[in-house]
Amino acid sequence: MEEKIQKNRLRFIISSIMGMFLTLFLTAFVLLPVAKYALFSENAIEKSIEKADYGNFVMESFMKNAEALTLSTGIPFEIFDNVISVEAVNKDVQRFIDSSIREESFEPDTKEWENTLENHILSFLDSEEYAITEEEEKSIQDYIASIREEYSKNIQIPLFTYYIIVKNHYDSIFPWVLFIIIAVMLGIIFFIFKINRESYKKVRYVSYSVLGSGIMIIILPAYCLVSELYRKVNVTPEYFYQFVMEFLKGVLQIFLYTGLAMIFLGVIIVFINETVRIKGNNRNTEVLDQ
């Protein structure tokens, strides 16, 4: 009898340790694909750009910088009226994302608005009866070049090229890491099933792990969302901050829902396992009653 109790205790300890490791690997198994489709996905970026009203913010920032560049020239800022539209900015941002993903260099197509801007400048100087010399013609081209440079700088999402490098690296190791995790998980589950005789006990440790994994996944995103930690992200300019904030919020919400789904799955497993066990015990009690 004593020996049986000892064996049961040892079985419990080993199963618990294995269950704890299963919790870790299960968490990694769930988080890896979620990260791939929430953190490293083109779709998630595009959604965040839309939500953060990125094009409008970029346009606003570009206009402020262009105004600063224009102020020192003595030309009124009205020359920018109807030169660049938010739609054009949005298109260029999208083209920048596409080029970065393909790891190609990006240059926005600015010819159309550059011509409009030049015409506006010439019209203004003409209305002021200002004679344009060859040197001033060159100055106009220099000024437009500085505006083009500013536009190009504003269109590009800061740090995006680094993000793409990390994404590509993640994509390349993802299947292998996932394969290893699945193999280890199956090994642990097999071990737990092997050392426990009763079928409800076998499933019980797996359900502990599923619930534990759900708790592990939930805690950090829930903390970040409740404390609004994601809003304290230290990036500038404002349009980039808005984008990063929306992106992080989306990723954290997906992690939170994934954790909740894991807990829900755990509860279902517990429910089925306990129903099966109680039914089995009732059958045994009935036999005893008879």
């Binding site: 269950g19 704890m20 020239t73 400048i121 534990g212 708790i215 609004e228 809003r231």
Partner: protein, 231 residues
């Protein structure tokens, strides 16, 4: 006997159901501890990165320019010396003084800092320079199309007045130079370290209405004539 068995059975069921609460919690806590231990070698680096990426407060991008300038206080203060304790050091983007020169029509607010927003509102002060009265260099900049447009008419011997809450300072123009923007930083950098109070005002050059990059800067160097010394 049968009743005892049923009660015992319910107790077991209850205790086993409780295990579904505490066991996952124990697993999660142990899981976090394992992660923490695994990350220990890079914890300092992660903390440093976190500190860089996460600010103490939610950033406020709608900060408008503030003001601590009080012209009445300036008029009242006619002391020869002023204690540093009585001076409010302005935060970046704060209006703290006024610059004027009646002869050329210069009359503009002076802000601490010199970003685009400040230069749109008035004259900006380089934060690596000093406030008036500290017996060091004061470096002010402005657009040559707005506040500092009138500097093109300034002449040697003209008086520039800087009014602060703690005193009124007068400076006499003693030199005017056109310096290329590439060399200006080094030349002015040397002057900034000198223990002599002088006002340097500069703007883009030439003044004519023309477009393009103005690569020269118009510098006006003025020596201190009067104003309280900060002790």
């Amino acid at each position: 006997m049968l009743k005892f068995k049923k009660n015992n059975f319910i107790k077991i069921i209850k205790s086993e159901l409780m295990a579904y609460l505490y066991m996952p919690l124990i697993f999660a806590v142990c899981g976090y501890m394992i992660c923490f231990l695994l990350l220990t070698p890079v914890l300092d680096m992660l903390q440093a990165m976190g500190g860089m990426m996460i600010a103490d407060e939610i950033p406020d991008f709608n900060q408008s320019l503030n003001s601590i300038y009080d012209p009445e206080a300036a008029e009242k203060n006619r002391e020869e010396a002023v204690s540093i304790k009585d001076i409010t050091i302005p935060a970046y983007g704060t209006l703290y003084a006024h610059i004027s020169c009646e002869k050329i029509g210069l009359d503009a607010p002076v802000y601490w800092g010199d970003n685009n927003e400040i230069l749109k509102a008035g004259v900006g002060q380089y934060i690596g320079s000093f406030m008036p009265g500290f017996e060091k260099t004061i470096l002010l900049s402005g657009h040559n199309t707005t506040d500092f447009k009138c500097l093109q008419n300034i002449e040697l011997g003209d008086i520039i007045t800087v009014t602060t809450n703690y005193g009124i300072y007068e400076y006499e123009v003693e030199d005017i130079q056109v310096i290329h923007m590439d060399t200006a930083e080094a030349e002015i950098g040397d002057i900034l370290g000198q223990d002599k109070e002088q006002l340097i005002t500069y703007t883009c050059y030439p003044f004519e209405k023309m477009v393009g990059r103005k690569v020269d800067r118009y510098f006006i160097f003025s020596k201190k004539l009067s104003g309280p010394v900060v002790e």
